[in-house]
Amino acid sequence: MPEIEFKGQKYIVDEDGFLQEPEKWSPELAEHMAKIYEGIDKLTDEHWKVINFLRDYFKKYGIAPPIRILCKTTGFSLQKIYELFPSGPANGACKVAGLPKPTGCV
């Protein structure tokens, strides 16, 4: 498994960069992951609104929310979410939020 290094500590991620040890997630690590994976220099309040909602929802239900609920709750259009996280809600926002990789499907 690949690793990323941040502040002297190593974090195991999968091939797509999803954190394998969710308990190690921290807001500082999220800032770092946003930088290396999404090219975001500084996470804004809008980014955090998405990240916090994703984490809360996941804690409550054990899965990532459907896109519809993410948009409704945050009040952001899907386009806006792609502007915030260029790789999109699953591959971008969920990754930065430390959620497991959504099981994709062709």
Binding site: E15, F18, R68, L78, S87, G88, A90, N91, T103
Partner: protein, 402 residues
């Protein structure tokens, strides 16, 4: 996965010759191994894909991992992520698939095809499949570091990614008026218009699952829309079949067995008295049988449009479904406002009520056609048969009963 993968042993296995995939070069049908070998001589990733394929056959199992989240910036679909279980032998950093949106009716200029090939040979394995069952060009095998740049180069050629995942999939249409005398609607223009209108839905997953639209110009349904598309748009007519009696007689004179054709009409709507062919158009189900048999004598009517069918799909949550008529006849004319409004209402309802990975046809099956019709504002009509010779029974709602 119970298979124990020992890399050293797998490497040894590869030294045993001949390889099993050599078998695929034999027989009357051209296999893909020759193409693999040609590209493997030039591209490392293709060589590794071939090694992995051989080991898959020897071990009778796939050596691809499940899942993979690979995207290009701004898109959620179009790239299908695949990683090897044996990166020491197979592709080390993924062998992802690109779906490239095909042009309407699959018409290409050769210089564009060459340009796509060049991009793919530079960044990917050089192997492609024209076309996948969705209709896209399938480019097989690109590793993670090359994905973004490969995509940008394809854009420069003038091609965009198609759909994958829970998006509006790349549409599909028959060659229609470009090639075919039976085209009753302009399939190519409708395809292009809907593709351009719904770019956002095509690239960015919104929904519980995928949604496919396929457009056939006539009931011959050459893109097999009714069995595969969540929304099948199939050209049809609502007036009378045009008959040229002189040409019918010519067919008979030249030996056509017209009694056989009359007998085979599924609704027995035809009769032949030795001089004149009669068609009872009220009974005609637009199957195209007689028109296909006597193309010079019979033509579809002049008042043309399309029938819309909902829910065709292969087995997933439920068994395979064939499309269910929701609109027996709709005029299909630019800017396709009526069709688009219906589509958007359908998507809203499905998105609101659909479960994870539930196709719209399955949702209609679960909640009932009645619920669907109310949600999208369509009237219940007799043409909405669920199976042939089967009454769909539109029930009253409790609040409508006294």
């Amino acid at each position: 996965m119970s298979l124990e993968l020992n890399i050293d042993e797998l490497k040894k296995e590869l030294e045993k010759k001949p390889w099993l995939i050599e078998e695929l070069k034999k027989g009357p049908w051209p296999g893909f191994i020759t193409e693999y070998e040609r590209m493997a001589a030039r591209k490392e990733i293709t060589k590794r894909m071939m090694c992995q394929l051989e080991l898959s056959y020897r071990n009778r199992t796939t050596l691809w991992k499940h899942g993979g989240a690979v995207t290009v910036k701004g898109y959620g679909g179009g790239v299908i992520g695949r990683y090897s279980m044996i990166p020491e032998i197979g592709p080390p950093s993924g062998s992802h698939t690109f779906r490239v949106n095909q042009p309407a009716g699959w018409f290409y200029k050769t210089d564009k095809l060459r340009a796509i090939c060049e991009v793919w040979e530079k960044y990917g394995s050089g192997l492609m499949n024209l076309h996948g069952s969705t209709g896209d060009i399938i480019l097989l095998g690109v590793d993670s570091p090359e994905v973004q740049e490969c995509f940008e180069n394809l854009l420069d050629v003038g091609y965009d990614l198609g759909g994958s995942g829970s998006v509006l999939r790349s549409l599909s249409c028959c060659k229609g008026p470009a090639l075919c005398e039976w085209a009753l609607i302009d399939t190519l223009d409708l395809y292009h218009d809907l593709t351009m209108t719904y770019q956002d839905y095509l690239h960015r997953p919104h929904w519980p699952y995928k949604f496919k639209i396929k457009i056939s110009g006539c009931p011959n349904d050459c893109v097999a829309a009714k069995g595969r598309a969540d929304l099948a748009v199939i050209g049809t007519w609502r007036d009378e079949i045009q008959i040229d009696q002189e040409e019918v007689r010519n067919y008979v004179k030249s030996g056509l067995d017209i009694e056989h054709i009359v007998k085979n009409c599924p609704t027995k709507a035809m009769s032949w008295d030795g001089n004149e062919l009669k068609i009872d158009n009220k009974e005609c189900v637009r199957c195209m049988y007689c028109i296909n048999k006597m193309p010079k004598a019979l033509k579809p009517g002049k008042d043309r449009g399309a029938t819309l069918l909902l829910g065709g799909k292969a087995t997933i949550l439920h068994t395979a479904f064939i499309g269910w008529v929701i609109v027996p006849f709709m005029k299909i004319e630019k800017p396709y406002k009526e069709l688009k409004e219906l589509l958007e209402k359908m998507w809203d309802w499905w998105d609101e009520h659909g479960r994870y990975r539930e196709r719209i046809g399955e949702l209609v099956y679960r909640l009932g056609m009645n619920e669907f019709l109310r949600a999208v504002g369509l009237p219940a009509v007799p043409q909405m048969v669920w199976h042939p010779r089967n009454n769909p029974y539109i029930f009253w709602r409790p609040e409508e009963l006294e």
